[in-house]
C-alpha cells in the first residue's frame, strides 16, 4: 500500500465542510439503497434514490438536478449503470460518479464500466471505510 493509500485508509470521518453532501443512490436493490443511504446519512450527507439508470437519467433531464455524488450500481433493469453513466456524461453532468460492482465482476467488466465515464469503482457491499476516502477527496475540491 502506498503512503497516500495508507493515509486515506485511516480516515474515519468526513472533512468539515459548509456544504452538505448531496448524493444520488442508483440501485435496483432495496436493501442496497437503504444501506447506502444510511452510510451517507452517517457521514453527514443527504441522499435521494433511483431504482434504475433510467430513473437517474430522468432526474437530470430538466437540468435542475445537482448531486455532488452519484453511486451507480452496474446491473439494473431498464437502463444499466454503464448506459446511465454514458448518458449522464453526454448530458454534461459533472457529479462524481462511483460505480458499484460485485466481487464477481472481472477486470474487463470493471474497466468497461469505468470507460462509461465513472470517476471510481467500488465493489459492494459498500462501507464507510471504503467510501469515505473518496468522499473526502471530493470535499477537498469544495474546500480548496
Amino acid at each position: 500500500m502506498s503512503k497516500v493509500e495508507k493515509k486515506m485508509s485511516k480516515q474515519t470521518k468526513p472533512k468539515e465542510t459548509k456544504k452538505k453532501l448531496n448524493v444520488l443512490i442508483v440501485d435496483d436493490d432495496a436493501i442496497n439503497r437503504k444501506l447506502h443511504a444510511r452510510i451517507i446519512n452517517q457521514i453527514g450527507g443527504v441522499s435521494q434514490t433511483a431504482e434504475n439508470g433510467e430513473e437517474a437519467v430522468i432526474l437530470h433531464r430538466d437540468g435542475n438536478a445537482s448531486f455532488d455524488l452519484i453511486l451507480m450500481d452496474k446491473e439494473m433493469p431498464k437502463r444499466d449503470g454503464a448506459s446511465a453513466t454514458k448518458k449522464l456524461r453526454a448530458m454534461k453532468v459533472t457529479s462524481m460518479i462511483i460505480g458499484v460492482t460485485t466481487l464477481a465482476d472481472n477486470e474487463e467488466e470493471r474497466a468497461a464500466f469505468m470507460e462509461a465515464g465513472l470517476n471510481h469503482c467500488l465493489a459492494k457491499p459498500l462501507s464507510k471505510e471504503n467510501l469515505l476516502p473518496l468522499i473526502n477527496h471530493l470535499l477537498d475540491a469544495y474546500n480548496g
Partner: protein, 157 residues
C-alpha cells in the same frame, strides 16, 4: 437485577459469537450493526425485514421456474433470482445463504435440475433458520434493555 442483566449480557455475547462461528453471519452483519445508532435505532431490523421479504419472493420465483409440470424448466429465471438472492444475502452478512447461492448458481449454469431443486430446499431451510436465530438474538437484546441494561458490543475477532 444486576445479576440478571449480567447473565443476559453473557447469553447475548455467547449467542452472537456462536452465530459467527457457525457461519450464519459474517463481517457484513457487523458493518450493519455499525450503521445503527440513536438516529436509526431499528436499522438492522428494517434491513433484515427487507432481506427476509426478498427470500420469500425469490424462493417463490425459483420454485415456479423449477416446476416441471408447467413446461420446460426456466433456468434463466432461476439464475436471475439466485443472483439477486446472493446479492441480498451478501449485503446483510447471511453467510450460509450466500454460500448456498454460489453452489445454486453453478447448478443453474449447468442446467442441473436435481441440483437446483436440492439447493432451493436448502436455501429455504437456511433462511428460515437464520430468521429464527436472529429473532432469538433480538429477543435477548430486548430482555437486556427491559432489565435496565445495555446491549454489549461483541468483539467477534
Amino acid at each position: 437485577m444486576d445479576a440478571l442483566i449480567s447473565q443476559l449480557q453473557r447469553q447475548f455475547r455467547d449467542y452472537t459469537i456462536s452465530l459467527y462461528q457457525q457461519d450464519f453471519l459474517d463481517d457484513q452483519f457487523t458493518e450493519l450493526k455499525k450503521l445503527q445508532d440513536d438516529g436509526s435505532p431499528d436499522f438492522v431490523a428494517e434491513v433484515l425485514s427487507l432481506f427476509f421479504e426478498d427470500c420469500v419472493k425469490l424462493i417463490s420465483n425459483m420454485a415456479r421456474a423449477l416446476d416441471q409440470t408447467t413446461g420446460a424448466v426456466d433456468f434463466s429465471t432461476v439464475g436471475a433470482s439466485v443472483h439477486q438472492l446472493k446479492g441480498s444475502s451478501s449485503s446483510v452478512g447471511a453467510k450460509r445463504v450466500k454460500a448456498l447461492c454460489v453452489s445454486f448458481k453453478d447448478f443453474c449454469e449447468a442446467q442441473n435440475f436435481e441440483g437446483c431443486v436440492r439447493c432451493l430446499q436448502q436455501v429455504d431451510i437456511e433462511y428460515k433458520t437464520l430468521k429464527t436465530k436472529l429473532q432469538d438474538l433480538f429477543n435477548l437484546e430486548k430482555q437486556i434493555i427491559q432489565a435496565g441494561g445495555i446491549v454489549p458490543q461483541v468483539d467477534i475477532n
